[in-house]
């Protein structure tokens, strides 16, 4: 099953490679990983999307906690949460499809953030399924480039992951 793990990590050189190394060394799946500093400059927040049986997920959880740089690990998928991912897509937009692509972007509440004579660059946010659906809606021959940030997540309600 798919799980979204949220981590608070010491913002130190090497912390990222310890975490990435753990996943490869122990043959754990890693679907996406996103990381950036938080409001506290000494702490980074990391979101790891992974999958595995309950036993494997428990091991991932414990092994992450064991790393000296990891301060906290929370499995967001255990309770209601919000997932978002940002995607930038550069598409060929010439002639009559130009209007059609704009319409589709509006339907997905995306934004065209850059325009050239022959291309659009579109920004879309949402969960993975929505971004997938948007790409599905495009003619694959039009897609020049896709960049996705990987999932970020946060719990719903008053629950907050803090030090």
């Amino acid at each position: 099953m798919r799980h979204i793990l949220s981590l608070l990590v010491e913002n130190e050189a090497g912390a990222l490679s310890r975490i990435a190394g753990l996943f490869s060394a122990r043959a754990f799946n890693i679907e996406s990983l996103s990381v950036a500093p938080t409001e506290d400059a000494s702490v980074s927040r990391m979101t790891v999307v992974t999958s595995g049986s309950d036993q494997i997920i428990e091991q991932i959880h414990k092994q992450l906690n064991k790393l000296v740089d990891v301060i906290k690990v929370v499995d967001l998928s255990e309770s209601p949460h919000i997932e978002r991912e940002l995607m930038l897509v550069k598409v060929q937009a010439k002639g009559e499809v130009r209007e059609e692509i704009k319409r589709m972007t509006d339907i997905f509440r995306g934004r065209i953030v850059d325009v050239s004579d022959n291309t659009y660059t579109i920004e879309v946010t949402g969960d993975g399924a929505k971004l997938g659906a948007f790409l599905q809606g495009l003619d694959p021959r039009q897609i020049l480039e896709v960049v996705r940030t990987g999932t970020s997540g946060i719990a719903r309600g008053e629950k907050a992951i803090r030090l």
């Binding site: 190394g21 060394a25 428990e58 092994q63 064991k66 000296v68 301060i71 030090l163």
Partner: protein, 575 residues
């Protein structure tokens, strides 16, 4: 007014910090990046440096010292090849959870990443085999980093910690103060076990009809041997130790039914398979112990006590997990047992012991003592007799290691020093140096084979320099015995590259290093040779025992089989 803090150079800070940490010995090998440090070591006598002949030897020596004393081992190596040579001992210590603090020199900060002379990414290379590592980027962080390194290495589940120190840092100065305490917000090992879990576990343990205690290296590392003895004797239950846990419970005690696992005793493995309550303490359900997981302990409820939560339910689901320091948890359990007179019902327990007695009567470790050619088991049995079971015994890896574990009956913890997890050939001799350094008066025997011994043979030179009277027991069968055994069983006797051609004359080899060498090739001469060697309190004696080439280690649970599917020697199969 507080005394003014001294202003010291990085290299001085390094040596002062080791003194303040109470370090007695540093094992190491000098080189360019650590020359400032070596210069400071030269100027003082409190921290004694032991010069090995190879960084691997230095690392295993520090490891052996740590295993025998319970104190952290300290290793100092230079950058580049210095630290790559240390990777094997670091990984060895990591697999067996040995507290080791490794200091590696690094090229000066401004050259890092430049492919400088003797530069290697020490942090990157060691990352997967250390508990943690640090690159010191500012001399003002040096003392605190050293403090953290010792704290992390020795607390919780112990392990190696590497501190990489660029050369320029050792030349820069700052105020020195060694921190009294260390606080790491992301690292807080659990000590006390959960009281509710402990009570639940005790209830299950006391209700057992076929109980079994399975304890590992965690009991030795956690200095919980006394508590384990009280617990086991109060309950009257059978106990087995893993390879890493030998000595935690006395092997000569009637409740001890031998080591378990691939080359464990028949009775220990059968008792594991048939027990109804398994009490695992400081053990990690390693594949060499469990065999086929699908067939492991099919009738048992399992209690698992371990300081490392990640060890619990890693390989085998557990019914009652207790995360905590084994000494603390066993102390709590013993306290509850003293208050509570309730014990397991005597009748089922007596029947269980009767069943175990039947398994024991198979005499699975039997071998022929009446041969002219030396049986390796016989040498170890004699060594055990002649040393009163009280020697420190190190080993390398392979058949001799298994025979040592089976036939040297350890009654005390920290006497059996071997590379169980990583299985590092070349470990035995340098580890013995570290042990002998810590206990100069003790008998330290290195049980080895001719293939393992030559992997770190250069350390014979270190032994001479520091007058370390190690007794090297070379069980020389002219084969990589365990490889040959597997090739005999599983590769239709195709002995691919397991034969040791062109071996040295070990007697002359010992002599050329300034030691005593003896060759023994008849069973009748074994005891006399051992007696003579043990008398030589101030000399290293290398005994080259020419042993039976065809001898195999039995009993054996083949890889992928269950614990109840053991083989005895070919001439005696089980019903």
């Amino acid at each position: 007014m507080a005394a003014q803090k001294p202003v010291l150079r990085g290299a001085e800070i390094f040596v002062r910090a080791l003194k303040d940490e109470g370090v007695e010995y540093v094992f190491g090998y000098p080189g360019g990046a650590v020359l400032h440090i070596y210069d400071e070591l030269f100027k003082q006598e409190e921290v004694k440096h032991i010069l090995a002949r190879h960084e691997q030897g230095a690392g295993h020596a520090a490891d052996g010292y740590a295993r025998a004393t319970g104190k952290p081992g300290v290793l100092l190596v230079t950058s580049g090849p210095g630290v790559t040579n240390a990777v094997t001992p670091i990984a060895t210590a990591y697999m067996d959870s040995i507290p080791l603090v490794v200091f590696s020199g690094q090229v000066p900060k401004h050259l890092i990443g430049n492919d400088a002379f003797q530069e290697v990414d020490a942090i990157g290379i060691t990352r997967p085999c250390v508990k943690h590592n640090f690159l010191v980027k500012d001399v003002r962080d040096l003392a605190a980093t050293i403090k953290k390194a010792f704290f992390i290495a020795t607390s919780g589940r112990p392990g190696p910690v590497l501190v990489d120190i660029p050369k320029d840092i050792t030349a820069q100065s700052c105020e020195y103060e060694y921190p009294q305490n260390v606080e790491i917000r992301s690292y807080r090992p659990v000590v006390r076990g959960h009281p509710g879990q402990i009570r639940r576990a005790l209830k299950l343990i006391l209700g057992a009809k076929k109980p079994m205690l399975y304890t590992g290296g965690g009991v030795v590392l956690g200095n919980a041997s006394e508590e384990l003895r009280e617990f086991t004797r109060t309950l009257g239950y059978p106990i087995t130790n893993t390879l890493m846990g030998l000595g935690a419970f006395p092997a000569s005690d009637r409740q001890f039914i031998g080591m378990l696992g691939m080359h464990g005793t028949y009775e220990a493995n059968m008792a594991m398979h048939h027990c109804d309550v398994l009490i695992a303490i400081g053990a990690r359900f390693d594949d060499r112990v469990t065999g086929d997981l699908a067939q492991f302990c099919p009738y048992a409820k399992i209690v698992h006590i371990d300081v490392d939560p990640a060890s619990i339910a890693k390989n085998v689901p557990v019914d009652i997990p207790i995360v905590g320091d084994v000494k603390s948890v066993l102390t709590d359990l013993n306290g509850l047992l003293r208050e509570n007179p309730e014990r397991a019902e005597p009748q089922p327990l007596a029947e269980w012991w009767k069943q175990i007695g039947e398994w024991q009567s198979v005499d699975c470790l039997r071998f022929n003592r009446n041969t002219e050619v030396i049986k390796p088991q016989y040498v170890i049995e004699k060594l055990w007799e002649l040393t009163g079971g009280d020697a420190y015994v190190t080993s390398d890896v392979g058949q001799h290691q298994m025979w040592a574990a089976q036939f040297y009956k350890f009654d005390q913890p920290r006497r059996w020093i071997n590379s169980g997890g990583l299985g590092t050939m070349g470990f035995g001799l340098p580890a013995a140096m570290g042990v002998q350094m810590a206990f100069p008066e003790a008998t330290v025997a290195c049980i080895t084979g001719e293939a393992s011994l030559v992997m770190c043979i250069q350390e014979l030179s270190t032994c001479l320099q520091y007058r370390l009277p190690v007794k090297v027991i070379n069980l020389n069968n002219r084969y990589m015995g365990m490889v040959r055994q597997w090739q005999e069983f599983f590769y239709d006797k195709r002995y691919s590259h397991s034969y040791m051609d062109a071996l040295p004359d070990f007697v002359m080899l010992a002599q050329s290093f300034g030691h005593v060498g003896v060759r023994v090739d008849k069973t009748a001469d074994v005891e006399g040779a051992l007696r003579e060697a043990l008398k030589q309190k101030d000399r290293l004696v290398l005994m080259d025992f020419i042993t039976d080439q065809t001898e195999n280690v039995y009993p054996m649970m083949a890889s992928g089989k269950g614990q109840h599917e053991m083989h005895l020697s070919p001439d005696r199969e089980l019903a």
